[in-house]
Symmetry: C2
């Protein structure tokens, strides 16, 4: 899986890519759908290099692709969304990535042609990377499932299916937008424990969920399940995902069919999709602790045991008029109980057709310690213990005007750190 | 809501539309995406008249539309999917419908131009009427919710939220196909009550669900809820929906986040979308029984009380190698506990953006008596009481090779009966 694009010695002729702190060194090369804010016309597919953006569509005409696969992938970058690119094969994605890496390296003869195409990330306007046909949200952190379960069932926090089934549910695709999303506090039905009837009004327990999103590449026909090996080939890339949650609406509506309006008012993703190939150096062993049941055979593979996890640090911060930028949560995706390949394989195990551009969420990524909790529901123990900030302000759940900022990165000895950028979104007051 | 297109005296120059038994008299005029099987090229939007199909795309060039709205709607019929047509307004849909009615009436001067466009429904190949951005399935039959709840909780069948919240959940859009769908019996994880561990294999309790589907027209912005009046304007049309269910997979997976793989392997809809306008004569009072809580104000309106229900008969039949065509279920959509407008209004009440082409399911439509149950789960009391057919064969759940056929129609004194065609689908054996 490792190739020349991961070489830590690579430097780019775009200087900001070499500063050692950027999320976007030449070893990253993520994809997004963007345009220069001042440009009329549609977005197209771009990559990031340091603090700059390189649009890929114009390169298709330059005759610089080294292989037909790379050229085919480049042609797809003219589209406003990534679905066509995502529908190609890992060989296509890799061929294009190899070329982009070559074009952006110090000494590349392509530099003069590409230099004029660059624009600053500050000037960029992003949109959703693809048309998300279906959005599925999993529940892959056993720490989150246990902590949340404990609030409802102190004696029996984890349901019996958890360690066997990668629990997930279908989510709402239409209300997903990219970083910068501002949305009105949702209204909904809630019922106070002591009330005889529910009431309708603005959500009182608005929460974030710190998640990893992953995009599906290629299509399988309805009725064609996937092996664990095939599932790895279906992973196009990862993003950050804030799966906003209205806890009071959820508590009243979720039985027996699961969360519905508590989630569908907004979900926010980072604009950059970090490719599976870029993440290859940061794969980690996926091991069950002693005494845990082994995954069923169709959810297990030697590769998954050795490389199934992704060592990806996640942080979540708040910023508001009364609260300076303050970190709330920190966790690592490698602590998930289910791997990405297991979630994909499970999803297709009944023959469900997964389509290029489908988005899946990992579920809230909470780590083993209490401060690694990926939501306020957990951090405040269901709203009972407010979080106090240094300036004396506090929160149980979120206020109007609060912004939530999530970041993520991967690093490992001997490799260049790559980042995910950020996903930032802000809560507006409920509509009158 | 009633206009000249509903006049029972109207006859068409297409003779088969006047036979008194067709689902598609000139008072119906549904939409589908279809083409002649023998034609290469893509499907486009068509209407049905008697046993014939009239493609609408070629009419756009004939200069026969009587209004700009109608012409605009006609132009959208060139598309392979209905989404653009659905994104227009009720005034557009009505203008086109009025013109189609006029063109197809006895004595129309448009007859010579249209006659050559007709082809038989037997020659048609249908596809999904639109790109279904999101699919939501409700749970609007209190009879179904009570009967299913009783299987799990004999003392407390109906959960406390049921009479307040139109319960629903997000479903899987990619695996929805039109009548004729054949799918392999899904595999999945199940756990027998006496087993210590789950196992993976073909579903043993495969079931149908007799539902009404409804398509959303127009778009609302994220954050813009809908009133009950606006919700009525967002109803493009209705179809039949078989929401296939793997009961054993569902029982093991569904807590705490709801049904997932038990539903996502296949769902089948009828190809014809019967427009809201065509259904206007069959609207019925929507009344809660004595002692039931009144709907919350945002889910109530005078119009809904007078016309919120739709008097639509539903039937479900089985046909198999060992069972001749036999009716299993019969119910009526007017027995739903929640109206279509209430479901739409509730869905958008948190600001969720509903998009043209979204599909919603009513949930299994079971009536008040046991034989009106819309699923085998109910008819066989959870698989405990097999259904016996006249020839001695029986079923608890469905066998490989079984076909399920659903039909629906509306009739009322003084109006011409209109039908929904059928949705038929067949279970193939599980893949090895």
């Amino acid at each position: 899986m490792l190739n020349a694009t991961h070489d830590p010695r690579l430097k780019s002729w775009v200087e900001s890519a070499n500063d050692g702190v950027t999320d976007f060194p030449i070893q990253n090369l993520p994809f997004a759908s963007a345009k220069k804010s001042s440009d009329k016309g549609e977005c197209s597919i771009v990559t990031a290099i340091g603090d700059q953006i390189l649009p890929l569509a114009p390169i298709a005409a330059l005759n610089v692709a080294s292989t037909p696969l790379s050229q085919e992938a480049l042609e797809c970058c003219k589209e406003p969304e990534m679905n066509k690119l995502m529908a190609l094969t890992p060989a296509h994605w890799s061929a294009l990535r190899t070329d982009i890496s070559r074009w952006l390296q110090v000494g590349s003869e392509t530099q003069p042609a590409l230099q004029s195409l660059l624009y600053s990330q500050n000037e960029a306007q992003f949109k959703r990377p693809c048309q998300i046909g279906d959005y599925t949200d999993f529940y892959a952190s056993i720490h989150h499932a246990t902590a949340v379960g404990r609030l409802f069932r102190p004696d029996n926090p984890l349901l019996p299916n958890y360690k066997w089934v990668p629990i997930g549910y279908h989510g709402r695709a239409s209300s997903i937008d990219v970083s910068g999303q501002q949305f009105h506090r949702p209204k909904g039905q809630t019922k106070a424990p002591d009330a005889t009837e529910p009431s309708f009004g603005p959500c009182k327990r608005l929460d974030y969920e710190l998640e990893v999103g992953f995009f599906i590449g290629q299509n399988n026909e309805l009725g064609e399940p996937l092996t664990m090996e095939e599932a790895e080939q279906r992973l196009f890339g990862l993003c950050l995902l804030n799966d906003w949650s209205a806890r009071d609406i959820q508590a009243w509506e979720y039985q027996p069919l699961g969360p519905f309006l508590a989630k569908s008012f907004a979900s926010t993703i980072s604009p950059w999709v970090i490719t599976a190939e870029a993440l290859a150096p940061f794969r980690a062993p996926f091991v069950r602790e002693q005494g845990e049941p082994e995954p069923m055979p169709h959810l297990d593979s030697e590769y998954n045991q050795q490389y199934g996890a992704i060592d990806m640090e996640l942080t979540c911060s708040i910023e508001a008029a009364d609260v300076p930028l303050t970190q709330l949560s920190q966790s690592n995706f490698k602590d998930a109980y289910w791997s990405v390949a297991q979630m994909i394989t499970h999803h297709a195990s009944n023959g469900c057709n997964l389509m290029a551009g489908d988005l899946m969420g990992s579920g809230t990524q909470s780590g083993p310690t209490p401060e690694q909790a990926g939501s306020l529901l957990e951090l405040t123990q269901g709203g009972k213990k407010p979080i106090a900030f240094e300036n004396g302000q506090q929160r149980t759940f979120l206020n109007d005007g609060d912004s939530i900022i999530m970041t993520g990165y991967c690093k490992r000895e001997g490799y260049v750190r790559i980042g995910f950028g950020e996903v930032r979104s802000t809560i507006l007051p409920a509509k009158p």
